[in-house]
């Protein structure tokens, strides 16, 4: 079971609203606020450090271009940023040679943990809500979704690691995600789409 602090989030306000209003300092604030999160996502979904760096630049550009589409009544800003980042990364590697398997960049977990920012507080709050739903999955499903969604591993990599047939991995992942979505929507923590 994942233990999560359920303290109320400190709202970071709508930084993306400032970007949409073209406030001069908003872009740098955005980099400061979400740079590490986007970097974490890009590293996991990219086959090399250079690819991850390219991807981060693309993601920020898209985020700034789509800042006006963020609706705080539908989703937390961190969720919106994560959606944009994941979509861009999946699209990026879908378009690239499909023979390239995203193995993720070597993690450097010696770096200073930094969970004190307001974005992290919001992240914790989001996570607390979703944890209930993740706990409802069977262990296999949760492991597969962690490897797929958080670690950015391909289903064939997961199949090799867990010694589960590829078709089963695919099926577990999809059905697990369907269950998660239904659960999150039941708890009213996932609204309608926000980042098209």
């Amino acid at each position: 079971m994942l233990e999560v602090d359920e303290s109320p989030s400190q709202s970071v306000g709508s930084l993306l609203a400032l970007v949409a209003r073209r406030e001069p300092q908003s872009l740098n604030q955005c980099i400061e606020q979400y740079g590490n999160l986007i970097w974490s996502i890009a590293k996991r979904y990219s086959p090399s450090q250079a690819d991850a760096e390219d991807a981060v630049q693309e993601i920020f550009l898209e985020l700034w271009q789509k800042a006006d589409r963020f609706n705080p009544s539908l989703s937390a800003e961190t969720t919106f940023v994560t959606m944009i980042a994941r979509r861009r990364l999946i699209d990026r590697y879908r378009k690239q040679s499909r023979s390239v398997e995203a193995t993720g960049v070597e993690s450097d977990f010696d770096e200073q943990p930094d969970m004190s920012s307001s974005a992290s507080a919001e992240l914790i709050d989001e996570a607390a809500k979703a944890t209930r739903c993740l706990d409802g999955l069977v262990v296999n499903q949760r492991d597969i979704l962690r490897k797929s969604i958080h670690e950015g591993k391909s289903h064939s990599q997961i199949s090799n690691e867990l010694q589960i047939p590829l078709g089963s991995v695919k099926s577990f992942a999809r059905r697990g995600l369907i269950q998660l979505r239904q659960c999150m929507e039941k708890f009213s923590i996932a609204g309608s789409g926000v980042a098209s």
Binding site: L2, V4, R22, P24, L27, N28, C30, I31, G35, N36, L37, W39, S40, I41, A50, D54, V56, Q57, E58, F60, L61, E62, Q65, T78, T79, M83, R86, R87, K95, Q96, S97, V100, S107, F109, Q112, P113, D114, S120, L123, E126, A127, K129, A130, L145, I149, H150, H155, K170, A173, R175, L177, I178, L180, R181, M184, E185, A190, G193, V194, S196
Partner: protein, 265 residues
């Protein structure tokens, strides 16, 4: 868990697969049969659930700091962003055709719309005196062009002293634009020799298209705009040769340091 394969469940399964990035070719065709707006809305619900799931797991590991060099690159990118006044791009990453239009018609419209938007992206900044950097132009092309092709450079030599990562080439046939990101290519003395790009497009003929002459003037990463002299619709290979200053009309390909092959769809 129910294993009943109702059409509704299949619909959700495909949307989940799209969000996880694991659709097969057959499934890509299958999603064309759904109403585009409805399918898009379902995908977004799954993307949101996936994002929340990512954040849940992210909460259990220490956060990682972005490299300082990347951070300064982003800040540089931010500096000119508002000045560019980018037009809204209508292209959508999802290529699901509405039931009333065929896939080809949709693709053609998307390509045309993206071409217009890209042309505006390039035209507007120069009209306002704020010229986008090549990095920004490249990022805009990637973010906007629905037909973007990309491939990594590979060294043609067994010698790996230059490294194993050379960057990549990106190309959009719809907009007839592309960029090379190059790493590890030695700087050249332009008075003695220059690099030249060649693009092989078998849909034209068997003669490579001249992609322009360029120099590498610094160590590290360089971004170079492709200057194709002829229309390129279906490129299969991009090749860089070393030629005399000014380039050549026909290359003997004696010195061909890098190649990038486009994977067949």
């Amino acid at each position: 868990m129910s294993s009943v394969e109702t059409p509704d469940f299949r619909f959700q399964e495909l949307a989940a697969g799209y969000s996880l990035g694991d659709l097969s070719e057959a499934e890509w065709h299958e999603i064309q049969s759904y109403d585009r707006k409805i399918f898009q809305a379902m995908i977004e619900r799954f993307e949101e659930a996936s994002a929340r799931t990512f954040l849940t797991f992210q909460n259990t590991v220490p956060s990682e700091s972005m490299p300082a060099e990347l951070s300064s690159r982003l800040q540089k990118m931010a500096t000119g962003f508002f000045a560019q006044e980018k037009p809204k791009v209508v292209a959508n990453s999802l290529t699901v055709a509405p039931s009333s239009m065929g896939v080809r018609e949709i693709s053609a419209w998307l390509c045309m719309a993206a071409s217009i938007a890209l042309a505006l992206c390039i035209w507007l900044p120069s009209r306002r005196g704020g010229i986008a950097s090549l990095e920004e132009q490249r990022a805009t092309l990637i973010a906007s062009a629905p037909d973007i092709l990309r491939s990594k450079w590979e060294s043609t030599a067994a010698d790996t002293r230059l490294g194993t990562e050379f960057g990549e080439v990106v190309w959009s046939s719809a907009s007839q634009r592309g960029f090379m990101t190059l790493r590890g290519l030695p700087t050249n003395d332009a008075t003695k020799e220059q690099y030249q790009l060649w693009i092989i497009d078998p849909s034209r003929d068997d003669k490579p298209v001249d992609g322009g002459v360029f120099d590498i003037t610094k160590d590290g990463e360089s971004v170079v705009a492709i200057q194709a002299k002829l229309r390129v619709d279906k490129p299969t290979v991009f090749a860089i040769t070393v030629e005399k200053p000014g380039g050549v009309v026909v290359s003997d390909q004696k010195r061909l340091p890098l190649l990038a092959k486009i994977a067949a769809n």
